[in-house]
């Protein structure tokens, strides 16, 4: 079982990202769960969402405490939220980030080689393609580059199920672009 924790701010679509990944994995024939760290959402406030993906039925019905992967939708969170909390040793951190890798490691408070770190300039790409700083789908692109959790066609299908065609189209484009630009640092 793979457990993913999504860090975002209210309004950036962290829960939607968690859901899209789960929907895509379900299309691939996996067992899935996705849910927000429950609470009334406030725009801009730090929020968490979770995705579980497994080959077998998922028994657990509690929050995720030791994720395999964390995805950070907003780089400003790094200052106030310890996104590596509970992250498994050698786990994966995917961050929306454009600055220098050294600075990022410093912000994350981790040493080289402790975790795998993958970045993509999600805000820049979202502004280019969606004209809005909604980074959730871009981060799915970066996540898929780092870890092939689901087939690309399945994410595409999930997007078309979830959104009207023009919105889905642009998000598919954004995912592709973010995938291309994602790199391990």
């Amino acid at each position: 079982m793979i457990e993913v924790r999504w860090h975002g701010r209210g309004g950036q679509g962290a829960w939607t990202a968690a859901n899209l990944l789960a929907m895509a994995a379900a299309i691939d024939g996996k067992h899935v769960q996705s849910f927000p760290a429950f609470g009334p959402e406030r725009s801009g406030a730090p929020i968490l969402a979770f995705t579980r993906i497994s080959d077998k039925p998922i028994d657990l019905h509690s929050m995720v405490y030791d994720p395999d992967i964390v995805v950070v939708l907003d780089p400003t969170l790094l200052k106030n939220v310890k996104v590596t909390e509970g992250l498994k040793k050698g786990g994966l951190i995917v961050v929306n980030y454009e600055g220098s890798p050294d600075k990022l490691y410093q912000l994350l408070g981790i040493g080289r080689g402790e975790y795998r770190v993958v970045i993509t300039p999600a805000t820049k790409l979202a502004l280019e393609i969606l004209k809005r700083p909604i980074t959730n789908t871009a981060m799915i692109g970066a996540l898929l580059k780092a870890e092939k959790l689901v087939r690309f066609e399945s994410i595409e299908k999930a997007l078309y199920e979830r959104f009207p065609k023009p919105i889905a189209e642009r998000n598919v484009e954004l995912i592709k672009k973010a995938y291309e630009e994602a790199r391990e640092v």
């Binding site: 379900a26 899935v32 849910f35 927000p36 429950f38 019905h61 405490y65």
Partner: protein
């Protein structure tokens, strides 16, 4: 039990959906040919009614949707509709359910097979939107059948089953389907749903009301409000007959378990899915020294830990109580006898007493010659999470109790600040 049976509708003929518990319930209601939905929104149930109203707006259902001004009215409208022969459905949670309270008794006493989905949520005050079972326990004496589900698939399956159970002529009682707020209501899972026609066939089409003999009509008449053949529902009934009418309810409740079991097996033949015998879902209980009982979604986390501890050679097991009303005292005693310690998990408390299922299990075990030790764990109030580590700690405590052979503290609180 393990022999593989090919279901009538194999999995590849069932449609894959990735939906949350609320949406799953809405899909089930959509396919169940519901005539009337009357509801008032309240978190974490809101998505059920939201989704269902979408089906109505899109013309995908024939249902009369009544957006009422309160839950008291929601249940009242369902009572009226069901008395007129309709299949009626509503959903609520917490304070909304509390506001329905008066009418819950009327629905049950009039023997109206309404189905109510409860997305379990803590009662105020302080205001809390998260999961516990205090709302459901407030209605436990109202005469409703109460089922608790573990996951999103079961929320779908059970909502459809609830109509069959309630409308069975041996039962004729309203049925509440309880799904944990947020842990199920807002959690997306992959589920399989049946084709519409398969659900229609399972339910026998639209609701059929039983016929009754009334002395002022020559022929038997359908038991429903109909100006052409007037009948009265719930008129004054004092010390002359009230007690006898209550006896009818008591007798009807006794017939519920057999119907729940039949429906569970029929569903298995149709879909390939069943939940224990429909009433209780035991896991690894045969040689267990410690058994934990639990309601709702926490059962999954408990099973996860039972698997882990079994792997370490520890003799632990669990029973999920799927049907809380009527309570399966005898069947549970049969499973629990011979074990050393039983840990009873309750996501609710009766202030000044114990957790509601603890009281039931005490009653269930009293007649056993050799009684297991009993411990009540109250946990998860107001949505406090029950993570695997906490469940494991509980099992370790219970294993120590089993070794010692006595219990010092009968009522324990799990996961609370001391």
């Amino acid at each position: 039990m393990t022999e593989a049976v090919t279901p009538k509708i194999p999995l590849e003929k069932q449609k894959l959906l990735t939906v949350n518990g609320d949406e799953a319930v809405a899909w089930a209601a959509k396919q169940s040919l519901v005539d009337v939905v009357a509801a008032y929104p309240i978190t974490p149930q809101t998505i059920i009614v939201e989704k269902f109203s979408e089906f109505v707006a899109n013309g995908e259902v024939h249902t009369e949707f009544v957006p009422v001004e309160s839950e008291h009215s929601a249940m009242s409208a369902c009572v009226g509709a069901a008395a007129a022969g309709a299949r009626a459905f509503t959903a609520t949670a917490a304070n909304g359910l509390a506001l329905m309270w008066e009418i819950l008794y009327i629905a049950a006493s009039l023997r109206l097979p309404i189905v109510l989905a409860v997305a379990n949520r803590a009662l105020s005050a302080p205001i809390n939107i998260h999961c516990d079972h205090s709302d459901a326990m407030g209605m436990r004496d109202s005469g409703w059948v109460q089922l608790f589900v573990e996951n999103v698939q079961e929320a779908y399956d059970t909502t459809i089953q609830a109509f069959r159970i309630g409308e069975d002529e041996r039962v004729l009682l309203p049925v509440a389907v309880n799904l944990d707020g947020f842990f199920l209501s807002h959690t997306l899972e992959n589920i399989h749903i049946l084709p519409d026609e398969a659900v229609h066939e399972f339910l026998g089409g639209y609701r059929k009301v039983p016929k009754v003999k009334v002395d002022y009509f020559e022929e038997e008449v359908p038991l429903m409000l109909n100006p052409a053949r007037p009948l009265s529902f719930g008129p004054l009934d004092l010390y002359d007959y009230y007690f006898e009418h209550k006896m009818h309810q008591i007798e009807a409740m006794k017939r519920v378990p057999e119907v729940v079991r039949e429906v569970n097996e029929e569903w298995y033949a149709l879909t390939g899915r069943r939940y224990g015998d429909g009433v209780l879902v035991p896991y690894e209980v045969e040689d267990a020294d410690v058994i934990v009982t639990v309601l709702g979604s926490t059962a999954g986390t408990v099973r996860h830990i039972v698997k882990k501890l079994r792997g370490e050679g520890k003799k632990v097991g669990m029973v999920r109580i799927r049907m809380f009303r009527p309570f399966p005292h005898k069947e549970l005693a049969e499973i629990l006898k011979g074990t050393k310690v039983v840990g009873v998990m309750d996501r609710a408390i009766s202030f000044g007493s114990y957790g509601p299922s603890f009281l039931e299990i005490n009653t269930a075990l009293y007649d056993l010659k050799e009684k297991p030790l009993l411990v009540n764990y109250v946990y998860g109030l107001g949505g406090r999470d029950a993570p695997p580590a906490l469940i494991e700690k509980m099992f370790e405590e219970l294993l120590r109790d089993a070794e010692k052979g006595f219990v010092e503290k009968k009522l324990r609180f799990l996961g609370v600040r001391e």
